[in-house]
Structure formats: C-alpha cells, structure tokens
Symmetry: C2
Subunit: 225 residues, 2 copies
C-alpha cells in the first residue's frame, strides 16, 4: 500500500486533505506540530481528526524561540476580519505569518517520509483565501520539489517524494463542499487563532471559515456546539 505523510493542523483544510489522501488509496501517517501557537486547542482537534480517520499520528514539539508573528507573540494583537479584507486587497502579508513555518513543517514531513519510504507528503495549503502567505503559493511548492530531488536520498535514488497540494487552487467554499462529499468530521475541526474555549468568530481564520460555509450553503456544525 502506498504511504503518505499528511500535515495536520486541526483546521478544516488539512482535515479535507487527509480524507482526500485516504480516498486516493494512501496509508496516511499524520504529523501534528506544537510550535507555541496561541491556539493550542487545534492540536487536540488534529488528534481527534486523525483518530476518526483511523490514522496514526505523531505530535512534534518545535522550539521557535524568536519573535516575528502575531500567532506566536501573545503581546501582539491578532488582525480582525476588517483588517483581513484590507490586507487581501493590497496583497499584504498578514501579521499571522510565521517565518518559514510551512518550510519547517515540510522539512520534518520530508525526513519522516524518507525514513518510512512514503511516496508523498500532503499539505492543505491554498492560495485563494490566504493569498498573502508566500508559503501557500504553487511556485513555492514546485521549488520545494526541486529541493527534494537534489537534497535527499530519495531524490538521488530517483524516487523523489512528491509534495501534494490538492487544495491549492480551491477556495474555502469549494473545500467545504469537497469535505462534505468525503464525510469530513467538520465538527471536530478548529479554525480560530485565539486560544478560547469557543471559536471567536472575529479573527482572520474564523472570518474565512464563516465566509466559506456561507458561500458553500452549508451550516457549520461548530455553530451547533
């Protein structure tokens, strides 16, 4: 059976990606990161999603002892949804950008994939909503493929590990519709950047989640909880 490493955040994009990778016939091994994010609640969500998908998972603790993101620095204000729409119009990088975060996540996934001889790494990045994040763009993933081809045993042996980004050109509503077809347990997913007991509904991530469910014409099961 083909194996894949799936990067799981606890949000709905990565949950849909996991169920899609399973549907494609991969035996999936999930990686979840504890990198000091404000919203540690998402780690529990990620574990619950992997468990529901009957996939094994590992939680890796990552030390990023430097500042530079409102997602890590509790003293910094998170952007509100109003600020989000402003950002998007000028293609500005949001303050929630964590320096090289996806690059770090991919690197661990790559090490794990090499060690278990997996063929693919799945990541739920997409450009439509978070167009301000440089590490969510297709050109970044194609450049990363080159790194794998040149810098790993798998690449040298001509069995490079492919980074799969099946959601890259989809918007949130399309992702939600796809997730529904795949029976993704949306009620388990956690999108909010704040660390509260309930999702705040005001941060950048909650804004896109609500907009996505609204445009997909589907009721967010989290609203019922």
């Amino acid at each position: 059976m083909r194996r894949a490493v799936v990067l799981l955040s606890g949000g709905l994009d990565s949950a849909v990606t996991l169920f899609l990778a399973k549907k494609k016939g991969y035996r999936c091994e999930c990686l979840i990161f504890d990198y000091g994010q404000r919203h540690l609640r998402e780690i529990k969500a990620a574990g619950d999603i992997a468990h529901t998908a009957r996939c094994s998972f590992k939680i890796l603790k990552i030390d990023l002892p430097w500042r530079g993101s409102s997602l890590l620095d509790k003293g910094t204000k998170l952007p509100s949804s109003v600020r989000v729409s402003e950002c998007q119009s000028v293609r500005e990088i949001p303050s929630t950008y964590v320096p090289a975060r996806n690059i770090i996540f991919l690197s661990f996934a790559l090490s794990y994939a090499e060690s278990i001889r997996a063929e693919a790494i799945f990541i739920g990045a997409h450009t439509q909503d978070y167009s301000g994040y440089p590490d969510c763009r297709p050109e970044f993933y194609r450049a990363y493929d080159k790194v794998i081809a040149c810098g790993t045993r798998a690449g040298v042996e001509k069995k490079p590990i492919k980074v799969e980004t099946p959601l890259i050109n989809k918007n949130k509503a399309q992702i939600i519709r796809l997730g529904r077809r795949l029976d993704v347990p949306f009620e388990l997913t956690w999108s909010c950047y704040r660390g509260g007991r309930r999702q705040c509904g005001r941060c950048e991530s909650c804004y896109y989640r609500a907009k996505g469910f609204r445009e997909a014409g589907i009721l967010d099961p989290q609203k019922r909880l």
Copy 2:
C-alpha cells in the same frame, strides 16, 4: 552591521565557517541542534566555539522520532573508515545520512534569519569528503535559494536571505589551512560520531579529520589533549 545566522555543529567545518563569516564583517548568531545524535558531546563543543568567537548562540532541541540513520539509531553499527573509503569510491550514501537533516537545519535557520532580518545563513557543507551526502551538494543549495525566494516574506519583499556555503568546493586539508589562518580554536572542535570521552579515530568523521590534518601538514591539537 550585517547579520548572519551560522549553523554550528561543533565540528571543524562549521567552526571555520563561523570565523570566516565574522571575518567578512557579519554579526553572527549561531544555531546549534540537539537532534538525538549519538555524539551529544559536539553540542558542548559548539557552545565553546561560539563563546570563543564572542557570538551568541541558541541550542534547539529537535524531535526526530523515526529511524533511518546510524547516527541516530544506537542499535546500528557506525561505518568504519575502511567502509568509508569503499563508500566514496561508489558514491554510495553513507548510513550516517540523517533523512533531510540539513533541510531541517536550514529551515530553522531561515525562520530565525527572517525574524531578526539577517541577510545570510552560513553552513559549512562541502562536497569533497562527504560526497555521498545529497544535502552537501551545490545544486541542493541553489534549489534552496529558490525556496527562500518563493516561500518567505524576505523573498517576496525582494530581500531574500542568501545561503552561504563558503567551503563547498574545498577539501578537508584546505579547510584546515584556512582555519589556521583565521585562528580557529581547533582544540575545541569535536568530529567523532561516537559519544565517547575521546575521539575514537576510527569512525568516518575521525577518518576524514585525521586525513585532512595529515594532508595539511598541521598537527591536530586534539591529539595533544
């Protein structure tokens, strides 16, 4: 003052790289990794080298809870120097290759460099001796430059962080001669892959160190200790 992040292992290549970066006028911030390597002794060596160079340093603990390298798996035999020369002739990747290790190290260095607005990352990789390691080849570093250009805030803002590999085409003897000119404290460096109190003199890394000092016509100060 221009800033650089320097990857420091405790071995002599990275020590020479640090002193070279200082000579080029960079204010250097060192990153040292504790990744479960057999030779934890090198972490102390790296700290001593940074201290002697009057540079600040951070030790990051990295969790690699998977197998796949004789450098991590204590149950696996390390290759001897005889095996090393066999490997080299057939360009085989040594068992000490840690899946995606340099890719992970670079990713953290990149995150740190972005956060402190450093201009460069210095790494002491070179092809001459460790030609079997895919992540020590120039084409890998050029591919990584592309990842930085496409996948980071620094790249998007047209101030990409450059990965500097000043030793890439030098052999060990040339590196040692260069280090002597730069007053690198070779007596503090640690090359041995085994975790003993003294360097074993038999592993792959000790083999290249001894060969390098011999060819450079310089006495290894570690021999006197």
